[in-house]
């Protein structure tokens, strides 16, 4: 966000409403989702979203480690969002920093809001998100990947959790910021939507927006999430679709 430095602020929005990569304000970056990308995990997904590359894996329901976190009436959902050292321009020291821990917490709570955790008392559902290449919106890409991974693992949920960030660039509300827009933009608002209920289970915001802009941003984000929801469902169909038998041959 708003990095202060000698660097010149690039023009983020052209006169005809195009962004630096040619997108319109309400356009998403290309998203590709592969459900079931790993072999050891119970469920997994790989998401390429713009220049983001994010892998997610789900293990469980399984025994709770450490034991004292165990809950007698439901499963605990333990989420770990981590960035690879080489995923950003300046090498990041390996391990969880405070930012990663906060993101892990809010993502974990988002999933606790949709998973039928009471079906699996005294167990843990472990959600691991690894950012391999980062270009703004990694937590949203992480939620999308983890949500598909949870479905791939067969964990019962109210719904999938599409997620996207809305921001403000050159005074306009824009969907799905990329790195330069995030660095030099005026606001960033990541969210995750439960499509069935239309409610948000992840919501953060940083920057400056008026009340009217915020309302517009929420509406735009929900629209973006609904589009991503379709891509997520298609990824799961692609993984589990069974080809019809042709001409009766087995």
């Amino acid at each position: 966000m708003g990095s202060v430095g000698a660097k010149e602020v690039p023009v983020l929005l052209s006169a005809d409403g195009r962004r630096i990569d040619g997108r319109r304000l309400d356009e998403l970056r290309p998203i590709r989702i592969q459900a079931g990308a790993l072999h050891q995990a119970d469920g997994s997904a790989f998401v390429e979203w713009g220049a983001n590359k994010v892998m997610a894996a789900v293990y469980g329901p399984r025994e709770v480690h450490p034991r004292h976190l165990q809950q007698n009436n439901k499963a605990v959902i333990q989420c770990r969002y981590n960035m690879a050292a080489f995923s950003v321009d300046e090498r990041k020291r390996p391990g969880l920093d405070r930012r990663s821990q906060e993101i892990s917490k809010v993502i974990g709570e988002a999933f606790e809001s949709v998973v039928f955790a009471e079906e699996f008392p005294r167990t843990s559902i472990d959600v691991y998100i690894e950012v391999l290449q980062a270009n703004a919106g990694t937590r949203c890409a992480g939620v999308v990947a983890a949500s598909v991974a949870l479905a791939d693992a067969g964990i019962p949920m109210v719904d999938l959790l599409p997620s996207v960030a809305v921001g403000k660039i050159g005074g306009a509300i824009a969907l799905d910021l990329k790195k330069e827009e995030d660095n030099f933009g005026e606001a960033d608002l990541p969210m995750a939507l439960v499509p069935q209920s239309g409610r948000l289970v992840l919501l953060q915001m940083e920057g400056h927006m008026t009340e009217a802009e915020l309302a517009q941003a929420l509406d735009l984000g929900v629209k973006g999430c609904r589009s991503i929801h379709e891509t997520m469902k298609q990824a799961l169909r692609d993984r589990y679709a069974v080809a019809p038998l042709a001409g009766g041959s087995a």
Binding site: L38, H39, A85, F86, S87, R91, L132
Partner: protein, 262 residues
Amino acid sequence: MSGEVSAEIRTSHILDLAADGKRLDGRGPDEYRKITVEPGFVVTADGSALVRIGDTAVLAGIKLEPGKPFADTPNAGVLTTNAELIPLSNPTFEPGPPQPGAIEVSRVVDRAIRAAETIDLTRLCVTPGEKSWVCYTDIHVLDHSGNLIDAALLAAVSALAHATMPAKRFGIAEADYPLEVQHVPIECTFVRLGDSIVVDPTFDEERAAQGRITIATDETGRVVAMQKGLIGAFSPDDVKDVVRRAFVHGDRLRGLATGGAR
């Protein structure tokens, strides 16, 4: 847990098969699983490679930054290798500080890179005693289905062979230039299953193994590093045998690591 019971059954099955010179996935004792190398997988890294050996997937990323040389080697750059066995990659890994297994992978890979003089460290020196490049190799294990060491080194040397010095970004030179790799070490890992010694163990074979041995060779015919691991023993003749086999595999794997590199 039933997982442990089935692991026991699988272990005895693997050993029974090995007695007949067979393996669970149908490979011969001296056969690797399918290997693919994808250099340049991560654009935020100065060099990277995604390596798959069968169901094992390892991603290595290189970051080059200006730093200070060590006091005892003022004319040399600094090389750092770090492996993360993240809990995403295997059900047995837990979050937290690096486990001995991760440290062993880091160190065995680092040793091969260093001993083979993969990088001429004097060429990473910018101003003697004051400024030199620090070359970070970070290894991210994504899918641990056995034989991490071979996959990790293959990913690391492939990433190094395809790396670019970000000299322009740090104002050290007018333009970026390729990182020069002078030797290419390759590690081959074998495990003992009864009387048989097989290459490229799967996760289940590692669990059944009665000893593991890794041989690192380079393209000049040198053995540059070795590591015996797990519980078990090898005779000197066993070692001579696996060294011979490691040279044969090394030549092929080296081609995969440097394929397409300058």
